[in-house]
C-alpha cells in the first residue's frame, strides 16, 4: 500500500481510475448536490452573472447592418448585392415554372439554355474541358455584353441611382428578345405547362427507373395539379431548383479542398460538426437579421444548411476511391488536376450522386421550414393551415410536400444507380439513344402550343380540380369527427401520461442543480475520453449555463429529447432486431424507414396535432417517427454485420434463439446500436426545435421567438445551445462506442 502519499491527490486519482462508473457518478452527483446547498450559484446560475454574449451578438449584427463598412461600400450594400445576385436565378426559374414573363425577361434563360445545349453537344463531340471553355465563352460574352444593363439594374436595386432606366442600355445579346417582344406586342409568355412538367418528370422517371417509377412519378406529380396546389408546389420547387446547384457546387468544392489541404481539414471539419448538430431553425435567425425576410433569405439559409452533406459525401467519395485507381491515374501521367477531374471524381460518381440526393432532400426540408421567414409555397400554406388548425387543408398540403419529396428522392436515387451502372449498348441509332430527351422536347412543344388554346393545359382552372377547398373542408370535418371520437380514448391516456410521467419528469429535471449535472458529466467524460473530452463537454456545458444563461430552457429540451429517446429506442431496437431476423420483415421495415427519412421534418407535426392538439405529448409524439429511423437502421445493420461464423458458433454451442440474441448478438452489436441512438438524439434535437411551432417551451421556442424580432443574439445562442447538447451526446456516445469496438476487436 502506498502510504507515502496519502494526500488528496492520491485519493482523487484512485477514485477516478479504480471505482466503477455508476459509483463515481453517484459520488460526484451527491457531492455537487451538497455543495449546491451551501452555494446558491451552483444551484441556479444568477442572471446577473451571465456573460451577455447574446447582446454582444445582437450588437454585432446591428452594427453589421447599420454601420459596418468595407470602406467603399457598407455591409448592408454588400448583403443587398448578394441578395440581388441570388434573386436573379430565382426570378428566372419562377418565370419558367409558374410566373410566365415577357419575352425580354426570358432572355437570361434563353442564353443559359443556348449555353447548356452548346456545352452538351461539345462535350459529346470533344471533351468536358472543351465544353466548359465553350460554355464559359458564350456566357462570358453575354455577360460582358449586358454588363452595363446588369450594373445599372444593380445600382437601381441598391437605391444608389433610382432614376436610372437600365433598359436604355441594352446589349447586342438582348436584341433578339426585343424583336420577339415587338412581334408579340408585349404580351406575356406563359410558364411551362403543368402537363409538360408532370409528363417530363414521368419520361425522366422511365429513363432512369422504368415504367414503375414513371407511373409513380406521374401519379404523385398529378396530385399537385389536381388539388390546386400546383402554383405553390412550383414556388417551392423553384427554391429547390435554385438552391441545389449552389449547395452542390460549394459542397463539392469544399469537400475537394478539405481532402487537398490539411489546414482546411482542420478548420472546416469542426465547423461541419457544429453545423450538423445545429437545428434547421437556428440557420434562419442570422440570415433574417442580415438579409431580411423573404424568398432570398430563405434561399441563403437553405444553401448554407444543405451544403455540408455534399461536402461530407465528396470527402467520403474521394477517400474511398481504391488506391489502385488513383495510382493507375498517376502512372498514366495525369497532372493533379487531370487526376481529380478525370480519375477521382468520375470513379466515385455514385457516392457523389447520393450526396446530391441528400442535398436535394435537405433543401426541400429547409425550404419548407423557411416559410417561417417568408418563403412562399407549400410550406407557407401548410404553416398557415396549421396555425389556423385547418387540418383538412393541412393534410392536403402536407401530402403534397410528402409526394414531392418522394418524387425527388426516387428520381435522384434511380439516376444515381443508372448513371453508375456502366453497361455498354450495342449499336443504337441516334433516335434510340435520344428517345427520352426527344420525348421531353416533344411534350414540351406540344403542350406549349396546346396551352395557347386551352388554359387547362397551362394550369388547371379551379372548376376542373379533382379536390378543392370544399373537399378540404369536408376532409377537415372528417378529421375533426374522427379525432373527436378518438379524443375520449386519447384524452385519459394523454392526461395520465402528462400528469403522472411527463410533468414529474420535467419538474425533476428542472429541480436538479446544474452543478450536479456538470459533475456527473465531468466524471463520465473523463472516464470515456480523458481530459480532452472532459474539457470539451464541460466547456459546452458552461456555454449553456453561463453564456446562454437559460439552463431551464436547455433542461426542457433535454427533457423532450430524453423522453422521446426512451420511446424511440423501445420501438426502434426491437423492430431492428425483428427485421434482422426475417428478410421479409426487413424489406417492409427498410421501405418504411426510407419513406420516413424522405419526408421533411415539418410534416411530422401534422399527425401529432391531429391526435394530441398542442401540448407536451404532441411534441414528443412528433419527434418519435422522425427520430426512430436511425435506431431501427443501426440495430438492423449492427446485427447484420456480425460475422456469420460468430452466429454459427453460438448455434452449435447450443444457444436458443433468445440466448443467441441476448448473449451473443446484442453484446456484439451494441456499439453499432449506440451509434444509432446517437443519431436518434441528433434527429430528436433537430425536431424538438421545430416543435416550437406547437408550443414547446424550450430552446427551440427561443429561436422561434427570435425570428420575428430579428434578435440575432437570442436566436444564435439558443441554436448553439441545442448544438452543444447534440455535440456533448455525440462525443460521449462516440467515445464509448469506439472504446467498446476496440475492446471487441472490431475496428
Amino acid at each position: 500500500m502506498d502510504v507515502s502519499a496519502p494526500g488528496r491527490n492520491g485519493f482523487a486519482d484512485r477514485f477516478l481510475h479504480r471505482e466503477s462508473l455508476p459509483l463515481q457518478m453517484l459520488v460526484a452527483g451527491v457531492a455537487a448536490l451538497v455543495i449546491s446547498f451551501a452555494m446558491d450559484w451552483t444551484w441556479v446560475w444568477p442572471m446577473e452573472w451571465a456573460i451577455p454574449v447574446k447582446s454582444w451578438i445582437s450588437d454585432l449584427f446591428r452594427w453589421l447592418d447599420k454601420e459596418a463598412t468595407f470602406g467603399l461600400f457598407t455591409v448592408k450594400q454588400a448583403t443587398r448585392t448578394i441578395s440581388w445576385v441570388l434573386k436573379q436565378p430565382l426570378i428566372w426559374t419562377e418565370q419558367l415554372l409558374w410566373k410566365g414573363a415577357k419575352p425580354y425577361e426570358f432572355l437570361p434563360v434563353m442564353w443559359i439554355v443556348i449555353g447548356a445545349v452548346a456545352g452538351i453537344v461539345t462535350n459529346r463531340v470533344r471533351d468536358l474541358r472543351f465544353a466548359m471553355i465553350v460554355v464559359a465563352a458564350i456566357l462570358g460574352i453575354v455577360i460582358i455584353d449586358s454588363l452595363p444593363f446588369v450594373l445599372l439594374s444593380l445600382t437601381k436595386a441598391l437605391k444608389i441611382a433610382p432614376w436610372m432606366e437600365p433598359r436604355a442600355f441594352i446589349g447586342i445579346s438582348q436584341i433578339p428578345a426585343h424583336i420577339l417582344d415587338a412581334v408579340m406586342a408585349s404580351s406575356k409568355l406563359k410558364h411551362i405547362p403543368w402537363i409538360a412538367i408532370v409528363l417530363g418528370f414521368g419520361v425522366f422517371g422511365h429513363w432512369v427507373g422504368g415504367w414503375r417509377l414513371a407511373i409513380i412519378v406521374v401519379l404523385c406529380m398529378s396530385y399537385l395539379a389536381v388539388t390546386g396546389l400546383w402554383r405553390d408546389s412550383m414556388k417551392t420547387f423553384s427554391l429547390v431548383v435554385v438552391a441545389v446547384p449552389f449547395s452542390a457546387l460549394v459542397g463539392l468544392w469544399l469537400g475537394v479542398w478539405v481532402t487537398r489541404s490539411k489546414r482546411a481539414a482542420r478548420i472546416i471539419t469542426p465547423i461541419f460538426d457544429l453545423m450538423q448538430a445545429t437545428p434547421h431553425l437556428a440557420y434562419l435567425v442570422p440570415v433574417v437579421v442580415m438579409f431580411g425576410a423573404g424568398q432570398v433569405p430563405a434561399l441563403i439559409a437553405t444553401v448554407i444548411f444543405a451544403m455540408p452533406p455534399m461536402a461530407r459525401c465528396t470527402i467520403l467519395a474521394i477517400q474511398t476511391v481504391p488506391s489502385d485507381i488513383v495510382e493507375s491515374g498517376r502512372m498514366s501521367g495525369c497532372t493533379p488536376r487531370q487526376l481529380l477531374w478525370k480519375v477521382i471524381l468520375p470513379s466515385s460518381q455514385k457516392t457523389l450522386l447520393l450526396g446530391l440526393n441528400q442535398v436535394i432532400m435537405q433543401t426541400l426540408a429547409m425550404v419548407v421550414i423557411a416559410s417561417l421567414v417568408g418563403a412562399q409555397g407549400l410550406g407557407h400554406k401548410l404553416l398557415f393551415s396549421l396555425q389556423q388548425l385547418k387540418l383538412g387543408f393541412a393534410t392536403m398540403q402536407g401530402m403534397a410536400i410528402v409526394l414531392m419529396a418522394v418524387v425527388l428522392d426516387r428520381l435522384t436515387q434511380a439516376y444515381a444507380n443508372r448513371a453508375s451502372s456502366y453497361v455498354h449498348h450495342d449499336k443504337m441509332s441516334f433516335f434510340q439513344r435520344h428517345a427520352h430527351i426527344g420525348m421531353i422536347f416533344l411534350i414540351l412543344a406540344i403542350s406549349i402550343i396546346a396551352s395557347l388554346y386551352l388554359r387547362d393545359v397551362s394550369i388547371l382552372s379551379r372548376k376542373h380540380l379533382l379536390f378543392d377547398g370544399k373537399d378540404a373542408l369536408e376532409l377537415d370535418k372528417v378529421i375533426k369527427a374522427v379525432t373527436f371520437s378518438l379524443i375520449d380514448y386519447i384524452r385519459p391516456i394523454r392526461d395520465f401520461l402528462t400528469v403522472y410521467t411527463l410533468i414529474p419528469m420535467r419538474d425533476f429535471y428542472h429541480s436538479v442543480p446544474w452543478s450536479v449535472i456538470a459533475a456527473v458529466l465531468a466524471v463520465v467524460s473523463y472516464r470515456l475520453g480523458g481530459w480532452t473530452l472532459t474539457a470539451l463537454t464541460e466547456g459546452l456545458m458552461l456555454l449553456i449555463v453561463v453564456a446562454i444563461g437559460n439552463w431551464a430552457l436547455a433542461t426542457t429540451t433535454f427533457y423532450f429529447v430524453s423522453s422521446a429517446l426512451v420511446i424511440c429506442v423501445a420501438i426502434g431496437v426491437p423492430v431492428g432486431v425483428w427485421a434482422a431476423r426475417s428478410e421479409r420483415v426487413a424489406k417492409v421495415v427498410m421501405f418504411g424507414c426510407d419513406m420516413l427519412q424522405t419526408f421533411p421534418s415539418f410534416i411530422y407535426l401534422l399527425p401529432a396535432i391531429m391526435l394530441f392538439r398542442v401540448g407536451e405529448l404532441a411534441i414528443i409524439f412528433a419527434i418519435i417517427p422522425y427520430a426512430t429511423v436511425p435506431a431501427i437502421r443501426y440495430t438492423y445493420l449492427g446485427l447484420k454485420r456480425i460475422p456469420a461464423v460468430t452466429i454459427e458458433a453460438a448455434t452449435t454451442n447450443g444457444c436458443t434463439s433468445w440466448q443467441r440474441l441476448w448473449k451473443v448478438e446484442l453484446p456484439v452489436a451494441i456499439p453499432e446500436i449506440m451509434l444509432g441512438v446517437n443519431q436518434t438524439i441528433m434527429m430528436a434535437l433537430a425536431m424538438t426545435a421545430i416543435t416550437a411551432l406547437i408550443g414547446g417551451q424550450d430552446l427551440g421556442q427561443e429561436i422561434y421567438r427570435a425570428l420575428p424580432t430579428s434578435d440575432a443574439g437570442r436566436g444564435v445562442m439558443a441554436g448553439l445551445g441545442i448544438a452543444s447538447l447534440g455535440i456533448i451526446a455525440d462525443r460521449l456516445i462516440g467515445a464509448w462506442a469506439s472504446k467498446r469496438k476496440a475492446a471487441l476487436g472490431m475496428d
Binding site: 502512372m331 480519375v343 453497361v423
Partner: protein, 343 residues
C-alpha cells in the same frame, strides 16, 4: 551479365510514421528494428540497393508486408523514398520535378496493378486510350493506337464494354493494354496475376511471355509466388522485412540460398525446371572422354532426368562446342531434384 543499366537504386529507405525524416536523422540513417518498434515507425523498405538492366525481367518477391510493393512505388515515385539515391538512365530520379515526373510516366514508364486500377466509368477503348488522352493526343490517333493495343491483348470486339462487364482476366488484359499504350521503356507489374484464379493466372503468364518476346521491355515484376517468379524471371530478388536478402538467378537461389529464409522459399520450387545440368555436374579436370549419349550443360535437369536415372554409369555433359565438360551421376541428379537434405 554485361548489360546496360537502366535503373539504379542505392540504399533506399522508406519509413512510414509521424515524422520519418526526423526519425532517420535521429538514428543516424540506420535505425535498429527495436527503434522502429519502440517509436511506432514502420520500415517498409530498408537500405535496399540493386540495378535493373535494360531488357531483363527482374522479379522482386517476398511475403506480404516485405516491402516489395513499396519498393516498386519508390522507383515509380508513387511514394517518395525517405532516404537513398535512384537513377533512371543516369538521371537522378529523386530530383525530378513534378513536371519531369509526369513526362517520365507519360513516355517511359508503364504500370500494371494487382486490382487492375481500371476507370469504372470508361469503356475498354477509352481506358486504354487514357494515358494518351492525358497527354493531349487527339481522339482519332489515340483511339487507333488503343485499338491496336486492345487487339494485341486479345480483346478485339470488346472495345465498348465497361470494366465491370469483364472477367478478372479480361480486366487485367485491359490493364496491360493500357500500360503498353504509351510504348514505355520500363514496364512495372505489381502482382498483376495475384487477383486471378489459378487457371487464368497460368494463361495470363503465357500471354505475358508472348508479349515480352514481341516487345522486349525492361521489366520489374512483383509477385509473392515463387513458381511464377521462376517461370518468368531472368533474376529474382527476395525481400524480407524491408530488406533485399538475395538477388540472383533462380538457379543460384535454389542451389546457393543466402540464408534459411531464401532456402525456405526455394524449397518448393520446381527444381527440375530451374537447375541446369552444368550447375550440378562433376567437373572433369582434363575435359577428355567419350561424348557418347552426352547431355547439354544448358539443359534443365528435368529434361534429362529420365536418361540419367536409367543409365547405370554417370552421363557425360557436353559444352557448346561439343567438348566434354563433366559427368552427371544418378546420385547427383537425385540430390539436385529432391533437395540438399538427406532423406
Amino acid at each position: 551479365m554485361q548489360q546496360e543499366i537502366q535503373i539504379t537504386c542505392r540504399n533506399i529507405w522508406k519509413v512510414f510514421g509521424p515524422n520519418p525524416e526526423e526519425f532517420m536523422e535521429r538514428h543516424k540513417g540506420n535505425p535498429s528494428p527495436e527503434a522502429f518498434k519502440a517509436e511506432g515507425y514502420i520500415g517498409a523498405v530498408q537500405d535496399v540497393s540493386f540495378d535493373v538492366y535494360a531488357g531483363e525481367i527482374l522479379i522482386i518477391m517476398g511475403l506480404s508486408g516485405s516491402g516489395k510493393s513499396t519498393i516498386i512505388r519508390c522507383i515509380t515515385r508513387l511514394n517518395d523514398p525517405t532516404r537513398g539515391q535512384m537513377e533512371y538512365e543516369g538521371k537522378d530520379l529523386l530530383r525530378a520535378t513534378a513536371q519531369e515526373l509526369i513526362e517520365l510516366r507519360r513516355h517511359k514508364m508503364g504500370m500494371v496493378f494487382q486490382n487492375f486500377g481500371l476507370l469504372p466509368h470508361r469503356d475498354v477503348l477509352s481506358n486504354v486510350a487514357f494515358p494518351l488522352e492525358v497527354q493531349g493526343i487527339d481522339l482519332a490517333t489515340r483511339n487507333a493506337r488503343a485499338k491496336e493495343m486492345v487487339d494485341l491483348v486479345g480483346l478485339g470486339g470488346r472495345e465498348n464494354y465497361f470494366p465491370r462487364e469483364l472477367s478478372g482476366g479480361q480486366q487485367q488484359r485491359v490493364g496491360i493494354a493500357r500500360s503498353l499504350a504509351v510504348e514505355p521503356d520500363v514496364w512495372f507489374l505489381d502482382e498483376p496475376f495475384s487477383a486471378l484464379d489459378p487457371l487464368i493466372r497460368a494463361e495470363m503468364q503465357d500471354e505475358f511471355i508472348r508479349l515480352q518476346r514481341m516487345l522486349k521491355k525492361t521489366i520489374v515484376f512483383i509477385t509473392h509466388d515463387f513458381e511464377e517468379a521462376t517461370k518468368l524471371a531472368d533474376r529474382i530478388g527476395i525481400m524480407k522485412d524491408g530488406r533485399m536478402v538475395q538477388l540472383d538467378t533462380a538457379e543460384e537461389l535454389v542451389l546457393n540460398p543466402a540464408d534459411d529464409y531464401v532456402a525456405e522459399f526455394a524449397r518448393n520450387a520446381p527444381r527440375d525446371r530451374i537447375v541446369s545440368v552444368g550447375a550440378i555436374m562433376e567437373k572433369l579436370q582434363d575435359e577428355t572422354g567419350s561424348t557418347e549419349n552426352g547431355i547439354s550443360a544448358k539443359a534443365k535437369i528435368g529434361e534429362v532426368a529420365e536418361q540419367v536415372l536409367n543409365s547405370p554409369a554417370p552421363v557425360p555433359v557436353i559444352g557448346e562446342e561439343g567438348n566434354i565438360l563433366g559427368m552427371l551421376s544418378r546420385e547427383r541428379i537425385t540430390k539436385a531434384l529432391f533437395g540438399k537434405e538427406d532423406r
